[in-house]
């Protein structure tokens, strides 16, 4: 397999996704098959070929950075999973 279960575990940790042992094995198998298929690209000579990151050709699109009142604060706050005095509650970021 191109990708081992240990590697899947490491990537999942980087991507912040908890996986069960079964899922780790399944992802190692299916992702290995996909990565194996990607090898087809090695047939293509891409020496001196510029990568395509976008297709519109637009560059440096600007607009004025002006603050505006959306009038939607209550709606936005209403979507937050845990609120206290209209402030978002999150677990502590720095451990003692």
């Amino acid at each position: 397999m191109v990708l081992t279960v240990e590697e899947v575990r490491k990537i999942a940790s980087l991507a912040r996704i908890k996986l069960s042992a079964d899922e780790e094995i399944r992802h190692a198998e299916t992702i290995s098959a996909v990565l194996d298929y990607m090898n087809i690209l090695n047939e293509v000579d891409t020496t001196d070929v510029e990568p395509t990151f976008q297709v519109t050709g637009l560059e440096d699109v600007f607009r004025e950075d002006v603050a505006a009142d959306s009038g939607r604060q209550a709606l936005i706050l209403g979507q937050m999973p845990q609120l206290e005095n209209n402030e978002l509650v999150v677990p502590e970021v720095f451990e003692e």
Partner: protein, 477 residues
């Protein structure tokens, strides 16, 4: 004919001439949803109350003589597109309770012109899939045969239009997510050029590929919707400044111009192993029809076609893994109970994403990680350049290309769901145009022996939406 079976054109005529009201039209759609949705599963959320309220307001607008083309027309929206005050899950449980405080720009335009939002369509979660089996709200069933998939990722939108649960739908297409389900359900689906329509408010999947467009019953309807939604948006910096033409005018070009059209047949699409012979024959039939109308048929080649799917499944998961980082249970959506911050992220994402979303994030995280970036992401973007050059060359010899939309008709639910790679290859005909930013439409071209719809795809050069719609219309009439 029942009101819910009408096209936009006919429904708008009926509303304006006061043959029926928008409330009546909306009720027939809601009745159809009630009757059929338990089986088809095309809707995650139905907005019965607000739809009837919007319909009433539209009727008043019509009475005052202030109606626009979409005023009073019931439409549905893929659930991966944000709708103000209406739950938008993206078909994933992590957003099960999410009610956007804003409308996507294209939705705002339709609602401002009086369109009636009837509900939100099931899809593969965040657009990840080609069969609508990756939804956390169950698969969508094909209205033509309930044992079959509706296609994906916008399966609910295509099924809702095909089954007359709404008059039209708005969906999103990254690699084929409008065209493939539209083809499998026998309706019209337009992927516009990248940058033609605003993506503001569309849950992002692969930012360099995502587009938003209509699924409709006729090509004329698609042109009408494009007239309302196309154009530059200050909230989406990738929208292009070119003026939006009147697409209805464009599809009504005089016959003399049709005679001068050169239609390209890319041989790689017709030589594809696994191309169903009935699909091939129907596509050739559509080409024959265009030839009789006076179009010139030219054989062309897009030599890098076979690499497109590999390129796509590197670029998309890479951009996906970055875009989906925002869904972490912190500011909105469903937050899992957790011991600490890491556990909060990892558990919210574990519970809230289906397997395919996790797989894409893992592939993308791997492809972008140190040591693999050049081998995967950069290499894919270089081959993408060669695929684009193929199209640039071909469009010197042809004004548009005709291909099948999907290599096969709708397949059975469960048939391909355990084979990741086979599912990825389902979009092989649609991915190259996506990678190149070209517009493409699928139009229905009859039924197979098993009574399943077959779709034909028209691909045009950038910003030639009018031309692909015109040719699509010639194939359907």
């Amino acid at each position: 004919m029942n009101l819910n079976e009408l096209t936009i054109v006919r429904a708008a005529e009926g509303l304006r001439s006061k043959k029926f009201t928008s409330v009546e039209l909306t009720r027939t759609c809601l009745d159809r949803i009630k009757k059929r949705n338990p089986e088809v599963n095309a809707f995650i959320t139905v907005c019965e109350e607000s739809a009837l309220r919007e319909a009433k307001a539209a009727d008043e607008k019509i009475l005052k003589g202030k109606s626009e083309i979409l005023t009073g027309i019931p439409f549905s929206v893929k659930d991966a597109i944000c709708t103000r005050d209406v739950r938008s899950t993206g078909s994933a449980k992590i957003l099960d309770n999410y009610i956007p405080p804003f409308d996507a720009t294209v939705i705002r335009k339709i609602r401002e012109s009086g369109g009636v939002l009837i509900g939100k369509n099931n899809c593969d979660a965040f657009g990840h899939g080609a069969s609508n089996e990756n939804s956390m709200y169950g698969p969508v069933r094909n209205p033509h045969n309930l044992k079959m998939v509706a296609g994906g990722s916008s399966g609910g939108s295509a099924a809702a239009v095909a089954d007359n649960m709404c008059i039209f739908s708005i969906a999103e297409d990254t690699g084929g997510s409008i065209r493939q389900p539209a083809s499998l359900c026998g309706v019209v689906g337009l992927r516009p050029s990248y940058g033609r329509n605003s993506r503001h408010g569309i849950m992002p999947m692969a930012s360099s590929l995502d587009t938003v467009g209509p699924i409709t019953k006729t090509v004329e309807d698609a042109a009408l919707v494009m007239n309302v939604i196309a154009g530059r948006d200050k909230m989406d910096a990738t929208t292009v400044p070119e003026l939006v033409p009147d697409y209805i005018n464009e599809i009504r070009n005089p016959k003399s111009e049709i005679r001068n059209l050169r239609i390209g047949l890319p041989k790689e699409y017709f030589d594809l192993p696994g191309l169903d012979s009935e699909v091939r024959d129907r596509t050739l039939g559509a080409i024959e029809k265009l030839k009789k109308l006076g179009c010139e048929i030219v054989d062309v080649s897009l030599p890098h076609t076979k690499y497109a799917t590999a390129v796509y499944y590197i670029i998309v998961p890479s951009e996906d893994s970055s875009n989906l980082g925002r869904l972490d249970g912190i500011r909105y959506g469903v937050r899992a109970k957790a011991r600490d911050l890491y556990d909060l992220y990892a558990s919210s994402r574990a519970d809230g994403f289906p397997e395919e979303v996790k797989r894409r994030i893992l592939i993308g995280t791997y492809a972008l990680s140190a040591g693999y970036y050049d081998a995967y992401y950069r290499k894919a973007q270089q081959v993408r350049t060669l695929i684009r050059r193929d199209f640039d060359e071909v469009f010197k010899k042809a004004d548009a290309l005709i291909t099948p939309t999907s290599p096969f008709t709708a397949f059975a639910i469960g048939e391909k769901s355990s084979d990741t790679l086979a599912m990825y290859l389902a979009d092989v005909m649609e991915i190259p145009a996506s990678l190149s930013g070209m517009p493409a439409i699928t139009v229905p071209a009859g039924l197979s022996k098993n009574n399943l719809p077959i779709g034909v795809q028209v691909i045009g050069p950038r910003l030639a939406e009018g031309r692909v719609m015109q040719i699509g219309q010639l194939i359907t009439i």
